[in-house]
């Protein structure tokens, strides 16, 4: 039964990945703090759930990604920058993709 749940999680992961991807694409088109919050919230969710389903490396990657997003959000709030680390975001997305064998 647990294996079945893990497989369901794995097969539903494409949608989670696509959601992150669409948040990043939207942010690249136009900066929106709410979109950045949405991205962080969804990355946070994966960090919490992936590890509980046995995908520890993926969880760790998402936790690091979440920390970066948190830093970016704080920088935006303090008006230090409006330039996001898209290059780093892309690196994390590649790791997330390979962490769930989505290649």
């Amino acid at each position: 039964m647990l294996n079945k749940l893990i497989e369901e999680y794995r097969s539903s992961f494409k949608e989670k990945y696509a959601l992150l991807e669409s948040h990043i694409q939207d942010l690249q088109k136009e900066f929106d703090e709410n979109k950045l919050q949405d991205l962080k919230r969804n990355v946070h969710k994966i960090a919490g759930s992936a590890g509980s389903y046995g995908f520890s490396a993926l969880s760790k990657t998402c936790k690091e990604f979440e920390n970066l997003l948190l830093q970016d959000l704080e920088a935006v709030k303090e008006k230090k920058t409006f330039v996001l680390n898209f290059e780093k975001y892309r690196e994390f997305m590649v790791q997330i993709k390979s962490g769930m064998d989505l290649n």
Partner: protein, 148 residues
């Protein structure tokens, strides 16, 4: 260490109703699977803090497992709201969260939560973790009774 088995069994029997709230359906699914074996406990699952409060007002759970980071009302606001409601004020709350920086944990205990379960968690070990927390809550209650 001497363990009073009868005392433990009695304490565990007093946990009959629980509410779990998390906005992440994947987390609710795995918790539900993990706790299926605890058939003596009736468990309600909710996806928002508001839903959990409404449910708690009717169901009056012995224990609540609460996610911290939820859209709208988060776990912290939920506990603050519960503390203002006489029928919910004393229900022990356990946070289940990935937000576990030292200052965050300190703030949870300052808020009065009974314990914190870190995300990600080991699904197989979750029932045992809950039992341990419930025994700790009971021990604290009994110690308080003794003081009185």
């Amino acid at each position: 260490m001497f363990i009073n088995r009868e005392r433990i069994e009695n304490a565990m029997r007093s946990l009959t109703k629980m509410i779990v709230v998390d906005d992440d359906k994947d987390i609710l699914t795995i918790i539900q699977y993990c706790l299926e074996g605890m058939s003596e406990i009736s468990i309600k699952y909710c996806q928002t803090a508001q839903e959990a409060i409404q449910e708690a007002l009717v169901f009056l759970p012995d224990l609540m497992l609460v996610d911290v980071m939820m859209p709208g009302m988060d776990g912290i606001a939920m506990v603050e709201a519960m503390r203002l409601m006489p029928s919910l004020a004393n229900i022990p709350v356990v946070f289940v969260t990935a937000k576990i920086q030292k200052e965050e944990i300190d703030s949870y205990f300052k808020l009065g939560v009974a314990d914190v379960i870190t995300k990600p968690f080991d699904p197989i070990g979750l029932p045992e973790t809950i039992q341990k927390i419930w025994l700790k809550i009971n021990r604290t209650k009994e110690e308080l009774k003794d003081v009185k």
